[in-house]
């Protein structure tokens, strides 16, 4: 039947009926692969290079600490020295322990020890600050940590 109708046309218009299908396919792909951005980054982070990377399984058992220089928007307010960001706000070093404990409390008791703290720090951050963060995490008994990095050849600056 459809064929008969087509024959009447001089030049068949290109059917766009399958366009929604294609777009939906793309849509589903992005819906499945998407991870919603949980926090707005207030610090600029370029994580260091490393080759021996381990993927962090179980996103629900990972909590993040961001360390880096404040964005240009926030630089006039808090200065340009590297700062710590927890959730959506800048934090002081003393805030890490309560933060880590609070994050642990959120997880059910069985899996609490599997909580990993992923430290996303800029490659130019000094180890003094990182050492302080590690010390605070030890105080909070969050021993599992991950130094977040991107694949690439290592180098010494």
């Amino acid at each position: 039947m459809a064929q008969m109708k087509k024959k009447k046309k001089e030049v068949g218009a290109i059917s766009t009926a399958s366009l929604p299908d294609i777009v939906f396919m793309l849509l589903f792909f992005f819906m499945v692969t998407t991870v919603m951005r949980e926090v707005e980054l207030k610090v600029t982070i370029k994580t260091p290079n490393a080759t021996e990377l381990q993927k962090l399984e179980r996103k629900d058992l990972v909590t993040y600490i961001y360390v880096g220089k404040p964005n240009t928007t926030y630089a006039p307010l808090v200065g340009t020295e590297p700062r710590i960001q927890l959730n959506d706000s800048f934090a002081r070093i003393e805030d890490i322990q309560p933060f880590a404990i609070q994050e642990r409390e959120k997880i059910n008791e069985k899996e609490r020890n599997a909580l990993t703290v992923s430290i996303k720090a800029d490659r130019d951050v000094k180890m003094g600050l990182m050492g302080d963060i590690k010390q605070e995490l030890r105080r909070a008994q969050s021993y599992k940590i991950s130094y977040s990095a991107i694949p690439g050849e290592v180098f010494i600056p």
Partner: protein, 188 residues
């Protein structure tokens, strides 16, 4: 024109694409494709530091990174390229000949066996994070190489493809003992 012939008019699906595009763009914008990857470490509990167990000097592989990101390995200056090999030789040394799967040189000054071998990493407050992680990366690489070698020999597969029990066996054979000391404040 062709449509007019039908009794029931079709619902115009032309805007369907627009709706789908709108959703698509929303997900495109909010999406972050990157999976979080990193080098995992386990921090020691605080109370451990007050009374450290005695460790034979030969079983400690000392690495110091100063504020200018220079690396000192066992009191000798070293470039990052040589670190992996040095760490590997230390871990695999098998000084007391108790490790059947080791291939080390059995140097009497180096470690007794991989289970006793400890890597001590000391950095300055001024050390850059990239340098620290580069060193951590090389150490992990050394461990991974040894573990891979053992798992290939014992189970015929690479370390990543082992099942849980086999992984445990290999990890016990080459336990990763890296001590990250608190940063020094030597110089700027």
């Amino acid at each position: 024109m062709a449509r007019n012939k039908r009794a029931i008019p079709e619902i115009n699906a032309g805007s369907m694409a627009d709706i789908a595009f709108l959703l698509l763009i929303f997900f495109l914008v909010t999406t972050t494709m990157d999976v979080d990857k990193g080098i995992t470490r386990k921090l020691p509990p605080i109370e451990d530091t007050t009374n450290p167990p005695p460790i034979n000097e030969r079983n400690i592989f000392t690495i110091v990174i100063n504020a200018s990101n220079q690396i000192l390995v066992e009191d000798e200056y070293m470039e990052i390229d040589g670190l992996r090999k040095a760490a590997l030789e230390f871990l695999d040394n098998n000084g007391d000949k108790s490790c059947s799967y080791c291939e080390g040189a059995q140097d009497p000054k180096s470690s007794e066996n991989p289970k006793k071998a400890v890597i001590s990493l000391q950095n300055d407050r001024g050390t850059s994070y990239q340098a620290f992680l580069a060193v951590q990366n090389e150490l992990t690489a050394a461990y991974n190489e040894l573990r891979n070698r053992l798992s290939k020999r014992q189970f015929g597969r690479s370390f990543d493809n082992l099942n849980e029990e086999e992984t445990k066996v290999v990890m016990e054979a080459y336990p990763m003992i890296i001590s990250e000391a608190e940063p020094l404040k030597l110089g700027s």
